[in-house]
Symmetry: C2
Subunit: 83 residues, 2 copies
């Protein structure tokens, strides 16, 4: 069966406050990086799957939306590449 | 001054155990996603910077290596795009 590598990116929706990002931004400002703004911290997930491409795509969509992200607060996107 | 958007990806080095990834993998297996393996969980950070390209690149390298990641345990890479 073909093998695939997936990369999943989960980010907070733009309207949701990101206190972790704000903290990093403040820390950077104290380190004299005053030209840095808009820090948002998300998740980056790598995994591998085996199966037929169409099945794997449907499965990855399901996993991304129902297990790895919270669609109320987060956006998620994924990339799939043959291993 | 030109503005740039940066994306930074921080992942655990391959030799470092990833208990969070293992937990997700086990959860997926319990949900009948038995063809999924090698789950690794990293960080995805977005930020914006202003300045000249060469300065911004040097600054981003410094921030990525010294603030946003721990080079002992983590690999980090970044992308820069004009805003």
């Amino acid at each position: 069966m073909p093998k695939y590598n997936a990369r999943i990116y989960v980010t907070l929706k733009p309207s949701i406050l990101d206190p972790q990002g704000r903290t990093v931004e403040r820390a950077l400002s104290h380190l004299n990086h005053n030209n840095v703004g808009g820090v948002r911290i998300g998740k980056y997930i790598e995994l591998s799957l085996s199966g037929e491409r169409a099945d794997v795509e449907a499965q990855l969509k399901d996993i991304t939306e129902n297990v790895l992200s919270n669609p109320i607060m987060e956006d998620a996107r994924w990339e799939l590449a043959e291993a």
